[in-house]
């Protein structure tokens, strides 16, 4: 167990690392901490605000990092700005209903207004295929005769990229949807829409997780490059144009401050840049632990806690009586603090590693929120942090 010797103790003095991070631009995390004063923006710190002005927000990342949470929080942020927002989930079990505090199954294949100005839909390949086919065939009858044929259905499953393409097509369709006449949006009187304005001010797309996510995003380019003509070609050229449009689209990457998710995010950003799939937006680092001891008084007290723990340890021989040690409140607290500190250090190290690859993308660390059930309340908290980040950057 000798390897432990040099490890635990010196770390207690390493809280200073967080100061380094403040001056290195990752400080936005500490500024975003709930109930904490915001950090002043740095001049060279890339800002979220201009990104939030774009219409199409694609959210991607490794499975389990909180893409749905980030997507719903972003949609709530836009809704709060009075923007007509569409939240899209792509081919996944509906998690948005729960995160928005709605009864399970509220969000389905049809676009539904779930609260004023917030529209939501969960798109699946069959539903998207139908809409897409109708868009091209212009005939419900032909669609039924051909596409609802059992053999054709089986066959269609294996056309490479078809399901991704149809779902992208649906997103594109909504991005292009326009108001048909001048209208006052009845639930929000202050908003008037001119005929021909986009129907949705903001669209947030919760993309499939990275492996499939990248396939999903590159579909339009792949199909465009592989074929030369035909209705599918025409549509994909238009889709790829919207995806690549720096004025209109942002691809946000969600990660956790852990080795594998950070690796995957770096890989993903590199692929996106190399292939110009979509303009990169925010790198959100989810579930970051804020420094436990932010206060100088608390930091000053730590050595005394350490010394006390030492003393207790010498009194109770762990090999003789591990139970006594495990139940010693002081040692237990101390142990908790040591573990916590290690997690913080890992979070900082991994966040720094990701930030080093962000090249001009705003890095937005989001706090870990302790709660037994993650639901609407937590999503709201995060959405307020996004609003704060945008407001702070706009100054």
């Amino acid at each position: 167990m000798n390897r432990e010797d040099g490890e635990a103790i010196p770390r207690l003095g390493r809280y200073r690392q967080s100061d380094d991070l403040r001056s290195n631009g990752l400080g936005s995390f500490y500024g975003l901490r709930v109930g904490n004063d915001a950090m002043p923006p740095k001049h060279n710190h890339p800002s979220c605000a201009p990104l939030f002005m774009r219409q199409l927000h694609l959210v991607t990342g490794k499975g389990g990092v909180g893409k749905s949470v980030f997507s719903t929080a972003l949609a709530l942020h836009f809704q709060r700005q009075g923007l007509r927002t569409l939240l899209v989930q792509v081919n996944a079990a509906d998690s948005h209903s729960r995160l928005l505090g709605l009864p399970t199954g509220t969000i389905g294949e049809e676009v539904t207004e779930v609260s004023p100005n917030l529209f939501a839909v969960n798109t699946t390949p069959p539903a998207a295929l139908k809409e897409y086919a109708l868009l091209i065939l212009h005939s419900e009858l032909v669609y039924k005769a051909v596409f609802e044929n059992r053999l054709v259905r089986k066959f269609l499953r294996f056309i490479p990229s078809l399901s991704e393409l149809t779902m992208l097509g649906k997103i594109w369709f909504h991005a292009e949807e326009k108001h048909e006449k001048n209208e006052k949006y009845e639930k929000h009187e202050k908003h008037e829409y001119k005929k021909g304005a986009y129907l949705y001010d903001r669209i947030v797309v919760d993309c499939p997780s990275t492996g499939h996510g990248i396939t999903f995003l590159q579909t339009a380019q792949a199909v465009r490059d592989a074929s030369r003509s035909g209705p599918m070609y025409d549509k994909t050229v238009q889709m790829a144009q919207v995806l690549e449009d720096v004025k209109r689209t942002a691809l946000h990457i969600v990660a956790l401050p852990e080795e594998m998710p950070v690796n995957e995010s770096i890989e993903l950003m590199e692929k996106v840049r190399a292939r110009h799939l979509a303009p990169l937006g925010i790198a959100a680092i989810n579930q970051c632990l804020a420094p436990l001891l932010q206060d100088n008084d608390a930091k000053a007290a730590l050595p005394a806690l350490y010394a006390a723990a030492q003393e207790r340890m010498q009194l109770a021989d762990p090999h003789q009586n591990p139970q006594a040690i495990a139940h010693d409140p002081l040692l237990q607290l101390f142990h908790g603090a040591v573990l916590r500190e290690q997690r913080e250090l890992r979070d900082q190290e991994q966040s720094k590693r990701l930030a080093a690859h962000c090249h001009g993308m705003p890095v937005l660390p989001l706090p870990f929120l302790p709660s037994s059930v993650f639901g609407r309340a937590e999503v709201e908290k995060l959405s307020h942090l996004l609003t704060q980040a945008a407001a702070r950057d706009a100054v």
Partner: protein, 419 residues
């Protein structure tokens, strides 16, 4: 300062977590599996430490004296490096005993590792199964082959089984621990062979794409079907472009000779996976998504008669022990805080400093308590759902496990003893 005494504080606490007799028994059962089995297949959703668990189990078996191969799919770079793997390769490579010695482990020569390059493995298999090199090359260049081998759900799993089968039949190893690709869905793994074969044996393809070959069909019904297929073909080619249909047709023609050997191989996979020397280990974390996936996986494995050996629950937050049950609900004074405050005051700290530290620690404890309780409920649900399956509980570590030393540190929780 007496450092060794302090390090034992850390250990005694974690050691204390999840040490009930039931937990210990589960670890012994997993240890026994590693001693008795020839194949261990680790399954579960991504991001739960599946690769790490597979590597730790392999390390343990090797240290027991079995010649062991760990087959990884997508390891973290640091883990790969610590096993001496720096590139994807099919051929198993011996983990340098010096690397193990450097990590403070007994330098065994029994540990082997390989990191599979799945797309390359698909291409290799095609070349191996094709008698004609020209046909093989045309298949490799076909877009539908590309989709089949890279993107079709189950394709990765199919080829991982192929690699396992290939190495298992050579009898080079006493034990192979297979880390499976991170699946979006348990069924991707379990149904991989059927799906791949289903893909190649589509009536739909025959009817729609190779309509010409069905000209021998007689009878009105058949002719009707053929006519319907012709209509469908023409609408579809309007939809997808005619070249797509031509390419599928080409692909199916080329692949026809491979259908039989692949079917044969898929049957062999089934036999291999059902052998009494094979066990599946479901790896999960207490979080909702992975936990539900694990329970679904266990149910499906049992329904298919596949041998399930144990479940490993990684990243579990230990409960806050002591008087946490009642104390922590008191916001003002969560467990032991008053004792700590007293001690600190006696040490001569200012009241502000004591308060500041106590507030921070109380905050921390509340978080840890919430996590501990949530994970406790998750474990209870897993126990109830998995029945008598050994449930091996591994605590959440403060740092990512990415080197051989940390793999060895996991072993007391995985198999109940250190190496």
């Amino acid at each position: 300062m007496n450092a060794p005494a302090f390090s034992s504080v850390r250990h005694s606490f974690i050691d204390h977590a999840f040490q009930s007799p039931a937990n210990q028994q589960a670890r012994q059962q997993l240890s026994a599996l590693l001693e008795d089995m020839r194949t261990i297949v680790c399954v579960g959703s991504g991001g739960v430490g599946k690769t790490t668990t597979a590597a730790a189990l392999g390390l343990y078996a090797a240290e027991l004296g079995k010649k062991t191969l760990v087959m990884t799919i997508d390891p973290a770079k640091r883990l790969a490096n610590s096993l001496g793997l720096d590139a994807l390769e099919h051929e198993p490579r011996r983990v340098d005993p010096a690397l193990l010695a450097k990590a403070g482990l007994a330098p065994t020569a029994n540990l082997w590792a390989t990191m599979l390059d799945l797309p390359a493995a698909w291409d290799d298999m095609i070349v191996r199964f094709c008698d004609d090199d020209d046909v093989a090359q045309r298949i490799l260049q076909n877009r539908f082959y590309y989709a089949l081998s890279r993107e079709l759900p189950g394709a990765q799993e199919f080829i991982a089984c192929e690699a396992l089968h290939h190495l298992a039949t050579t009898n080079q190893f006493d034990l192979i621990v297979l880390d499976t690709p991170p699946t979006a869905n348990a069924l991707d793994f379990l149904e991989a062979p059927e799906r791949i074969l289903g893909f190649l044996d589509q009536d739909a393809f025959k009817v729609l794409v190779q309509g010409q070959e069905q000209s021998g069909w007689l009878g009105f019904g058949m002719r009707f079907l053929d006519a319907a297929a012709n209509t469908a073909r023409s609408v579809l080619s309007k939809f997808t472009g005619a070249e797509v249909l031509d390419e599928i047709s080409d692909f199916l023609g080329l692949f026809r000779t491979l259908y039989e050997p692949l079917t044969e191989r898929a049957k062999e996979f089934q036999t291999m996976l059902r052998s009494d020397k094979t066990r599946f280990v479901v790896v999960t974390s207490p979080e909702d998504g992975p936990r539900h996936e694990a329970m679904f996986f266990a149910k499906e494995l049992r329904a298919r008669g596949l041998p399930l050996g144990a479940a490993v629950v990684n990243r579990t937050h230990p409960p806050i022990v002591g008087n946490a049950g009642n104390g922590s609900k008191n916001q003002q004074n969560p467990i032991g805080l008053s004792a700590v405050q007293e001690t600190l005051q006696q040490a001569g700290l200012s009241p502000q400093a004591v308060d500041a530290l106590a507030t921070a620690l109380a905050d921390m404890l509340r978080t840890q308590h919430v996590q501990g309780e949530r994970d406790e409920r998750a474990l209870q649900e897993l126990h109830k759902n998995l029945g008598n399956l050994p449930l091996v509980v591994v605590p959440r570590f403060a740092e990512d496990v990415h080197d051989t030393r940390k793999l060895a540190d996991m072993l007391p929780w995985l198999v109940g003893r250190a190496v």
